[in-house]
Symmetry: C2
Subunit: 349 residues, 2 copies
Amino acid sequence: MISPVEWEGDSLKILDQTKLPDEIIYLNTDDYHLVIEAISSLRVRGAPAIGVAAAYGIALAAQKLDSNDTAEFINKLDSVLEEFASSRPTAVNLFKSVSRMKNTISPDSSVENLREALWHEAQKIHQEERFATQQISKFGAILIEDGFTVLTHCNTGPLATAGYGTALGIIIEAWRQGKKIDVLATETRPLFQGARLTVWELQQAGVPVRLIIDSAAGYYIKSGKVKCVLIGADRIAASGDTANKIGSYSLAVIAHENNVPFYVAAPSSTVDLSIESGDDIIIEERSPAEITNIGGLQITPQQVTALNPAFDITPAEYITSIITEKGLIKQPFDKNLKKVLRSSKDAVS
Amino acid sequence: MISPVEWEGDSLKILDQTKLPDEIIYLNTDDYHLVIEAISSLRVRGAPAIGVAAAYGIALAAQKLDSNDTAEFINKLDSVLEEFASSRPTAVNLFKSVSRMKNTISPDSSVENLREALWHEAQKIHQEERFATQQISKFGAILIEDGFTVLTHCNTGPLATAGYGTALGIIIEAWRQGKKIDVLATETRPLFQGARLTVWELQQAGVPVRLIIDSAAGYYIKSGKVKCVLIGADRIAASGDTANKIGSYSLAVIAHENNVPFYVAAPSSTVDLSIESGDDIIIEERSPAEITNIGGLQITPQQVTALNPAFDITPAEYITSIITEKGLIKQPFDKNLKKVLRSSKDAVS
């Protein structure tokens, strides 16, 4: 399984996903600024993978911070934490990672112990995401029946999660279980995560996949061929409203209209109980150039205004179930998300 | 007003829309095979413009057909008519043009008179489309209120119609009437007719336009900013079911879900009363390379299966009104389309 981010003793190895599938280029760095740049520019992307990369990036910064005085060290690290927190606005995993790293810091520790604790916490976050996505894959695969055509959007595989994948992890697990399934993958404009990454990851796993443009999804859902729509998430509010890649909302409405199940798969680290509804989730607006230029080629007239929201909100009412590492969460989400997330695995609804 | 196709005495001048907006390149040809190639490869596109180009192409072929024997001439021309009829499968205007040209042929005429009659019929088809789109623009503009943000898909301006435009003609007419409107134009994958052509045509007309990716349409419709969705059509069945650029169905469902009016604008030549419902409309499947390659750049892994349906069907139930040159047609379309199309302009519902 290819890994988007790996700790290598005193540096971080990041797979540059903007270069895939043409080139497999790794960025080896001990400079945390480059980790932030990699997050901002989507060299590492996908909510869980961003969380892991940020944790390692903070651990890396801690190793390099030039101070032996705990107070000074913590002070400097606080700025680093803020820099990471502002690298992208929508995926909650980023903020949870930053917050966990912050909570690791004790003013009573030596700088050396702090560095060690931060490194351990980053490792732990990574291991937890790996375990969570493995569990998600298993729980979700139960929903995928033999012969299903599954439609998925954007990229939610190992590359996006630093683990087994969420929506794509489920698909790959169902295939590994011997179910004869196939996938319709949306290309996912503007950055083609579907065309570049999802197709590539599914091909590597041997799962039959056909690529479609984003706006052809409705055609195939209406045709009756698609048996379920399965996506990941960047942030899930307490209500179950889900922020995910732009276009997810449209897929959910069309699936709903055609009585096709619409599943969201995400580790519980993606759920943000502090946010009541989707209205309160900040939607990242990215550069218009991502739309107007492709591989250096401008496809529009020279002077054009383009709007580039990177995410949209799917209201909970359109979501059939949410698949987490703690099990399948059913409606009503406002009640069941809290119940599951605040309890042990045994109490899953 | 830029014209996609013009008759120039003994040749046809076709604007190569695949090169827009970078280059304004005209193809001047007296070889009808090149007209067919221009239709197949989308150098001329848009249902009404295809109809006009085919009519001129047939008139051109008639001028060059090497025969002075009427029976032989008609025989040869029949093959030409068939070649045009198979150049694209979905837009009905093409078949209606071919059929009208065929009906012009009388076995009692001299070859010279037949050539003349075919040329006149082509001119007439063009003039009728011009007049129809002018009327559509006026009738439709009534629906666009001052301050509206209108969302449109694909390209339906002068370029697509060899006239004033359908959906885009309405938008431009509303702007000319002094209404302060603005447009959200979808880029329209895979061939970017929105990003390349609609943005360009609106800029030329001075109408404020912002470009979005196709899958961001739902986000803006749900936000309440979009006051109506306005599209063209490639074929409208007797039921009102409408074939149009892939993605139209999704927009219609989302508009319906958010109580946003969804209008279809098309000349009556686009209505095909011989087809009962959308189920019977043939959907063109185009080359996967249109999806996997952009400007010579392959964006996917080398071996990938892509599906590329060029159109989808919007069921009549999602359409608020159909705007034709004979006026605004309201629900129920199965009754009102027949009433309007089989009557004079005075009987418009």
